[in-house]
């Protein structure tokens, strides 16, 4: 019976998904004019494809977390049918891990919900959203949907946040989206420089809220690396967003959180989210508890694994004269000298899925997520074939 059921699931999925894929593009909040548009991986992934498109941890969450999910079924299998108050326990576990109080934490359906709540609460028709271009598109997409203005700020020549320019642009903003490391460029601004930027914005534009997205925090190897959580809990104008979707390998479970001053967190919880009743599922809550209670060796091992794969892949491109930016994340942004779409389509035909367009660099640059070492060795062989052809032939 179990096998039959699984067979049904797979058959139903593969048969149906392709036909539907296009129609949910509109749901992603990404159809904004300034930032990029479409997620090509919306098309169902056939099994066997190496997915380097979405900055996931290719190993998943690991044994402890999956065991916790299974345990969350309960002895008699009833728990998936129950609303649970374990969201409170997850908040407590996060607070303990991050050295803050439960009142400083709000959960979200991935950090997506956190990003949307902050954009909703802190931008308005006369209070723009400020973000680099390119950056992760969720906030800008939501702001545009609400009819709130967005103010894009170009990166510097090294594809890093240009802090002076960014601070100027932050004046009178409702919300600044400070994605660090920045997706899709993978670059990182050190903790000291970031703190100076915060102080300047607080001084010059005291009503502006800064949302610091630390989604890729666990992958950073820069020596000047630190979280901004301690500042956020003290400063009502600074919020840190975190997710279980990246190093913790739980993108499929949809769990993220924000840490901030208790008044700011209360505003966010009142608007959307809170203790996890509305949009968070009980298995994800228990997975989150197990994940955050693991000792630091879990993220340390994942960081080391990713670093080795990152070094290998970046070296491969650099040797061939294609310069990646200084990646501090589990993906890289690399100048391939041809449109991302042509490269993407050619790779996909050979079983490798890479990321969507990132304007204004969609004619020259591609974002590649790091899979396992084994996957990257196969992938670079494909990249070699695809890139060997003349760019203008694509």
């Amino acid at each position: 019976m179990a096998l039959t059921r699984r067979g049904f699931v797979q058959a139903a999925g593969i048969g149906a998904a392709g036909a539907f894929a296009h129609s949910c593009i509109g749901a992603r909040g990404r159809e904004n004019a300034v930032w990029s548009a479409v997620e090509p991986t919306l098309h169902a992934i056939e099994s066997g494809v190496i997915v380097l498109a979405s900055n996931e941890n290719p190993l998943g969450p690991g044994v402890r977390v999956l065991n916790a999910v299974k345990a969350a079924f309960g002895e008699s299998g009833r728990a998936p049918g129950r609303y649970s108050n374990a969201g409170r326990d997850l908040i407590d576990a996060i607070a303990k891990k991050q050295g803050v109080k439960p009142e400083n934490v709000v959960l979200g359906c991935g950090s997506t919900q956190i990003l949307r709540s902050a954009t909703h609460l802190f931008t308005a028709k006369d209070k723009p959203l400020v973000g680099t271009i390119p950056t992760y598109e969720e906030c800008a997409g939501y702001a545009e949907m609400m009819g709130h203005p967005v103010r894009p700020v170009a990166l510097d020549a090294n594809f890093k946040i240009d802090l002076d320019k960014f601070a100027d642009a932050s004046k009178d903003a409702g919300l600044v989206f400070y994605c660090n490391p920045n997706n899709p460029t993978a670059t990182y601004v050190g903790a000291g420089a970031t703190r100076e930027y915060f102080a300047r914005v607080n001084r010059e534009s005291p009503e502006t809220t800064i949302l610091v997205d630390e989604a890729y925090y666990d992958y950073v190897t820069d020596p000047d690396h630190d979280t901004h959580i301690p500042i956020a809990v003290e400063n009502p104008r600074i919020i840190v967003a975190r997710t279980f979707s990246k190093a913790y390998g739980m993108a499929g479970l949809r769990m993220g959180y924000a840490i901030g001053h208790k008044d700011t967190i209360k505003k966010m919880a009142d608007w959307d989210g809170g203790t996890g009743t509305g949009s968070l599922n009980v298995l994800a809550i228990h997975a989150g508890i197990a994940a955050i209670q693991q000792d630091a060796s879990f993220t340390a091992e994942e960081r080391a694994r990713n670093r080795a794969v990152r070094d290998f892949t970046m070296h491969w491109f650099a040797e061939r004269g294609m310069k990646p930016t200084d990646s501090q994340a589990n993906f890289m942004f690399v100048h391939i000298g041809r449109p991302a779409k042509a490269f993407r389509d050619a790779c996909r035909k050979k079983g490798i899925a890479v990321a969507r367009d990132f304007p204004p660099f969609e004619k020259t640059h591609c974002r590649l997520s790091f899979g396992t070492m084994e996957e990257m060795k196969k992938a670079v062989a494909v990249f070699g074939e695809v890139l060997a052809k003349k760019a203008n032939a694509a």
């Binding site: 019976m1 059921r5 699984r6 699931v9 797979q10 139903a12 999925g13 149906a16 539907f20 894929a21 129609s23 949910c24 509109g26 749901a27 992603r28 909040g29 919306l42 169902a44 992934i45 996931e56 941890n57 290719p58 190993l59 998943g60 969450p61 690991g62 044994v63 977390v65 999956l66 999910v69 299974k70 079924f73 309960g74 008699s76 299998g77 009833r78 728990a79 998936p80 049918g81 129950r82 609303y83 649970s84 108050n85 409170r88 359906c109 997506t112 949307r116 969720e138 979707s245 390998g249 739980m250 993108a251 499929g252 479970l253 009743t277 509305g278 949009s279 968070l280 599922n281 298995l283």
Partner: protein, 400 residues
């Protein structure tokens, strides 16, 4: 993925072998979580708890669904749009069930996400919400936060949504919330009555959106009832919500959906949280849709236990409204709070207050037959020898 990781996954992807018992609900969660945070539980320590407070399927989702979740362990790290099948396949499976197009379906993190977004999308400070009193509180809760006006229309003498005054109130409203069957009163309106309601609201207030929440659809046994889904597909500004949280026994998995015309659903699709359904929940819901026998068996079981419970309460002198759901709205002849606290002392947790009936009525969810037999004994202890609301004392032993 490393070999050892794969080995682990293979090892865990086994059918789930336990007996499947209970599932519970959101509302109880909120009330109980609030209580627990305040450090007080109504149930004394050591007393076995029967929770019949949140209108869930007490048997949970069943083995097929649990197996489907285990089958997705290798994809826990993939975004729902990268999993196989991806989240779009759930939309397609729902569309296939109703023989409609995927554009007629919007997924929600439970139907509550849809209800919340409907209030955000369709009401304004000048175009408010119309709902029953009592009815499910999610929509008015959101409207209150937004500061949008709310008209609550008291149910009729049979505890049914009072449609005539709702039609009047709907003039110029942004959204009408029609919960059918209605939570907490458990009553239902037949298909013709609903169609007439829709057509009259459409006539007198064509810009008003009508949300027909059919969360308890699978429990209805009244032959005059039919789903309003065909009506929604034919009519602008009308849509139906459904959920996997009730008969499907998946309240913890957070999956619901809306069905209607694509142009009606567009604002809901825009507000939908991206990737809102987890990889596990996508697989669970697809498996559940493929298991129609599970729902038929659950309806049959509920009908039987419902009849037993109605009869038992009737023998204690407590009349229930005509229940077409997996819960009862019962005249217990005393404040809900008093009844609830007395039952909780003996381990039975029933529903919260539902104004304007908080002085007389309790909402009791239908658990398993075993749970309801035990609960009936507790109700008997609690209800005797106090007078009913009609003033007639119950003689000891008459409950039999």
């Amino acid at each position: 993925m490393s070999v050892s990781r794969r080995g682990f996954l293979r090892g865990t992807v086994l059918p789930f072998s336990g007996t499947v018992i209970a599932a519970r609900g959101m509302e109880a969660y909120q009330a109980e979580a609030a209580q627990e945070r305040n450090g007080r539980s109504l149930v004394p320590p050591g007393v076995t708890e029967i929770r019949i407070s949140s209108n869930e399927n007490p048997l949970g989702p069943g083995k097929a669904v649990l197996d489907a979740i285990l089958g997705k362990f290798p994809e826990a790290g993939r975004y729902p749009f990268n999993s196989t099948p991806n989240d779009g396949a759930l939309t397609s499976a729902i569309a296939a069930k109703f023989k409609i197009k995927p554009e007629n379906v919007v997924l929600g993190g439970g139907s509550q996400e849809i209800l919340k977004n409907a209030v955000r999308a369709f009401t304004t400070p000048s175009r408010g919400l119309v709902t029953g009193a009592p009815s499910f509180e999610n929509c008015p809760g959101v409207a209150k936060k937004l500061g949008h006006p709310i008209k609550e229309i008291k149910v009729d003498s049979m505890f049914r949504l009072d449609l005539e005054p709702m039609i009047d109130a709907a003039k110029g409203a942004g959204l009408v919330f029609l919960n059918n069957p209605n939570n907490p009163t458990a009553t239902v309106h037949g298909a013709k009555v609903v169609a007439d309601f829709v057509s009259r609201v459409r006539q007198s207030s064509p810009d008003t959106v009508i949300l027909i929440d059919e969360a308890y659809h699978d429990y209805v046994t009244d032959p005059s009832y039919q789903s309003a889904i065909p009506l929604a597909l034919d009519t602008a500004n009308v849509f139906v919500t459904r959920t996997f949280s009730k008969a499907y026994g998946m309240a913890g998995m957070r999956v619901g959906y809306a069905i209607g015309r694509a142009e009606t659903l567009k604002p809901l699709e825009k507000l939908r949280m991206p990737y809102n359904i987890s990889v596990f929940s996508v697989a669970a819901a697809i498996a559940a849709l493929g298991d129609a026998k599970h729902i038929a068996a659950e309806r049959e079981r509920n009908t039987k236990v419902r009849a037993f419970t109605i009869k038992a309460l009737d023998e204690f002198g407590c009349k229930a409204a005509d229940s077409q759901a997996n819960f009862l709205f019962v005249d217990v002849g005393r404040p809900t709070k008093e009844f609830r606290e007395a039952c909780a002392k003996q381990g039975v947790v029933v529903g919260r207050d539902f104004p304007p009936f908080e002085k007389t009525h309790a909402r009791i969810s239908i658990g398993t037959m075993d749970e309801m037999q035990k609960s009936a004994a507790v109700f008997r202890n609690v209800l005797r020898p106090v007078a009913t609301s009609t003033g007639a004392p119950i003689e000891e032993g008459s409950w039999r």
